[in-house]
Point group: C2
Chain length 538, copies 2
């Protein structure tokens, strides 16, 4: 028997409407590409989204069309998120850090009819676009004055929307309509496209706003340092607006000084980003004897949280909560929220727990399975391949005919994990990174966490190296903290003293810079190339 309730669709436009009618006076603050600060209210934002929707319509953007955006976290990209989706078209966020070749690949693969870009990326976009026949036009996300500095006649965003009506009558349509397209980070191979539906993103927004998920409140001032060019900045552009948070967008200012300034001046209380960003910012604040102002929380994800971050921020009264997710999961799959009494645990026990990836959001199911695909127990010990499913998990990659799921409908994350009896999941590694030593699996995440605790180390990566007896053994590669002396023997002694016997590293090597990928994650593929032929000491 069917229920007899209205069947209104879950559209991203619903978030926009709610934000405008209920939080019209709230602020959105942006550091512009030009460096200055731009600020306006939700109400003004809403009027510009309407203008943009009219402009896009005039340009001929139709439902289903892909509109590419290559930009920093700014108010203009936010306007594109809502205007493009609101029309029933698809906002394709392009990661500029993929490099020209991959960026060209995703634009072509995405089939973008138009590409909007920030001035920083003008050379990249203007260089690639001519080779992509489906790209009918590009728009510089800036003023006429700034755009005039570009070679040729490049239309600018402000002129584009200037003459348009600031009210738009948003259409209603099926909630399974695509609204956004994003490619994975390319950490392990070629980026794959994930085509989000309105339904998936709205449900993800609701679930991520639960107190047991990100747990930010309506009066938080939120700073998504995670880029809007990657998995919708973890949904903050939707979740912040739904409950009316003050939204602070860092633009191109991802360095310690710019972030610190923004956090201090805008009284940011909640910030979201990948570990490398938090390590950089921490170093900047430490070196300059500053503090974090009103900041209460950081949500850390995209790569494993480290004890160095937890303790480093705690020293300033800032708490860290880990989240785990994937482009394929819209992206949040788990969050490691603190239960009652958590902060009263003895330090070592608490650290152990705080480094877990956390509990699944509602309606997300998880399992760990062995090589044969049989589910393993949730005992906190047995690790296996992590599978997920749920309303905001990918079913099929963009332009693929085959499903991305197992025969029984699960998505294999490519991560290796254990699940603790209380439901907390802990990633031990990526399946591709795990070190296989004498039949046992060694977690590179654990090694890196310990290495980062050494004061001279500012980045660390462990990779498996061939070993005559054990098949593979860990090599630890480190990058020295600015100004620090690096004594690799001392680092080796330091980490091996703290690691279980099996995980002890066979060698430590120093590099000038650990290579980071398009979303700030360590590129182990690069490191493996660099250390090809290297032989572990006896």
């Amino acid at each position: 028997m069917q229920g007899l309730m209205m069947n209104d669709p879950l559209l991203v436009t619903g978030i926009l409407k709610h934000a405008l009618r209920n939080h019209a006076d709230q602020e959105i603050v942006t550091r512009l590409v030009e460096g200055s600060i731009h600020r306006y209210t939700y109400a003004e934002f809403g009027r510009r989204v309407a203008k943009l929707a009219h402009a896009l319509t005039r340009m001929g953007v139709k439902p289903g069309d892909r509109v590419g955006v290559m930009g920093w976290n700014t108010h203009r990209q936010l306007e594109l998120y809502y205007a493009v989706a609101g029309l029933g078209a698809v906002c394709h966020t392009i990661n500029p850090k993929l490099g020209p070749q991959n960026a060209g690949f995703v634009m072509g693969h995405g089939g973008d009819r138009f590409v909007f870009f920030d001035m920083t990326f003008a050379p990249l976009v203007l260089g690639i676009a001519p080779y992509l026949p489906m790209v009918e036009g590009v728009v510089a996300m800036t003023t006429a004055e700034e755009a005039a500095k570009l070679p040729g006649e490049v239309p600018d965003y402000e002129t584009l929307i200037a003459g348009e009506d600031d009210v738009f009558d948003w259409p209603s349509f099926d909630e399974n309509t695509a609204c956004a397209l994003c490619y994975t980070s390319g950490t392990t191979g070629q980026p794959k496209g994930v085509l989000y539906s309105h339904r998936a993103l709205v449900l993800h927004t609701f679930a991520s706003l639960l107190p047991t998920s990100i747990g930010a409140a309506a009066d938080d001032v939120i700073l998504p340092v995670v880029p809007m060019f990657h998995v919708n900045a973890w949904g903050i552009p939707y979740s912040a607006l739904l409950v009316g948070m003050k939204l602070v967008l860092p633009g191109p200012g991802m360095d310690g000084a710019s972030l610190h300034e923004l956090i201090a001046k805008e009284r940011v209380t909640y910030a979201v980003g990948v570990p490398t960003v938090w390590l950089n910012l921490l170093a900047y604040v430490n070196e300059n004897g500053l503090d974090f102002g009103a900041l209460k929380y950081t949500l850390v994800g995209g790569a494993a949280l480290s004890r160095k971050i937890i303790e480093g921020y705690e020293a300033y009264g800032v708490r860290t909560r880990q989240g785990w997710g994937m482009t394929e999961m819209s992206p949040i799959g788990t969050t490691n929220y603190e239960e009652e009494g958590f902060h009263d645990l003895p330090t070592e026990e608490r650290m152990k727990r705080q480094l877990r990836q956390g509990k699944a959001l509602p309606f997300v199911d998880m399992r760990v399975v062995d090589e044969a695909g049989s589910p393993l127990p949730w005992d906190g010990e047995t690790d296996g391949n992590l599978h997920v499913r749920g309303p905001w998990v990918v079913e099929r990659y963009y332009r693929e005919d085959e499903t991305a799921t197992t025969e029984d409908g699960w998505f294999d994350t490519g991560d290796v994990a254990v699940i603790h009896p209380d439901g907390r999941m802990q990633i031990t590694d990526r399946a591709k990174d795990v070190i296989k030593s004498g039949g046992e699996w060694i977690s590179t995440i654990e090694i890196e966490d310990v290495a980062l605790r050494h004061p001279s180390v500012c980045q660390a990566a462990a990779i498996g190296m061939p070993h005559p007896k054990w098949q593979e053994r860990p090599l630890l590669i480190v990058q020295a903290a600015p100004g620090a002396e690096m004594d690799t023997a001392a680092v080796k002694a330091f980490v091996n003293e703290k690691l279980p016997r099996i995980s002890r590293v066979d060698d430590v090597q120093v590099v000038d810079e650990i290579p980071l990928g398009a979303t700030g994650k360590v590129l182990k593929t690069e490191l493996r190339k660099r250390f090809e032929g290297y032989v572990l000491p006896e």
Copy 2:
């Protein structure tokens, strides 16, 4: 273009699964019909839900079947909520206070195959059931020992589930499947059935957990005084479990002493109920020189919040937040959450605002329209008929062929309201209760709010009486606080001094008891009958 995400359905079972895997050790505490306190963990609850699902299957309950429940807020009713819905059947909660005739009507109209009941209602259910041919069986929600006290051989709940397996493999099905049936309160006429879908209730759960909705957190201890026999106790049985709150169920103990004891002993922090309950409890606490322990918040709805409640609870450090909703809305439509700075407003201004019904939940749309159906401005002044729409709003009443909506797809609430420019809605009255005086509409809610502020008044109701010149004028009917002397002239002077000229009451009359309906709301229909023929003084 369709998105490429998994299409897993939103089922109430998803809430259950999430609660069990993530919050297994959390507690559910119940005051039993026998008076003692029962407590168990979510884990134990889950095992019993599974046993019950097996028992129901054995009894022959099939998808789509209606299973009636007439009971207090207890763990057994909670188990029925989840087990029945999990099977794809429909949990029909029956309001025992409807009286035998209406209760019989709703059981028959609902077409319940089985009826579960609490011992309190044994006479009612055992008296009616034999006249209802579709009711194949009844079950007393108690132990064998207690059920043995009933006439005849009545099966009991504990024996029913005792031998069953405590694991159940929940089926998956279309999220638009019906999962619960509830009839309106019958305040204005015959109760109407609303058939909720899984989708509607899951979405309502997500939306009501936003910090801008009920705003209870995972570590709150929540007490739904609102009955589970009416609109799913405002969704608390779902929302509390989704984030793992400790749930305290008051059973039949709705009097001041029982509620106070439970709040104190279980350290309740968040309580939810209708105004009459809060007035009673406040009087009890005042009279006995007690306090509210750990209670921080009450959510008040179902009828208008009054200043007497706000100030009465504030004196004990407890905040009140108003919610507005309807059986037809699953039920929450608006909540009046406090924005930053709210508590620093001057008292009179704050009271004015705190008495508003609040802002619509996301995805709920509201409008006020004039008699011709044209939308009116959100100016905080122009009142009209309140229309709503959204994914948890009724489309059609149960067993009706016709839609319950307007031609353009809105549901007319039967309430008269204004909407303020900031999106806050304020009910001025029910369309049926509003007093029409010389072409103007007088809000009975405003009169009652002022009347309740008089120390001798514990209940108040204003109704329109025929008037030769003005068509109608207000008559105020009051019930004296226990032990209070009632000076109607003084009350009249007191209220008229505070009311706008047009709303001043023409007379004050005292009754021993203001009649309350099945969900604790003033029955103005009754009062109108009682005062038929009464003539207002010149």
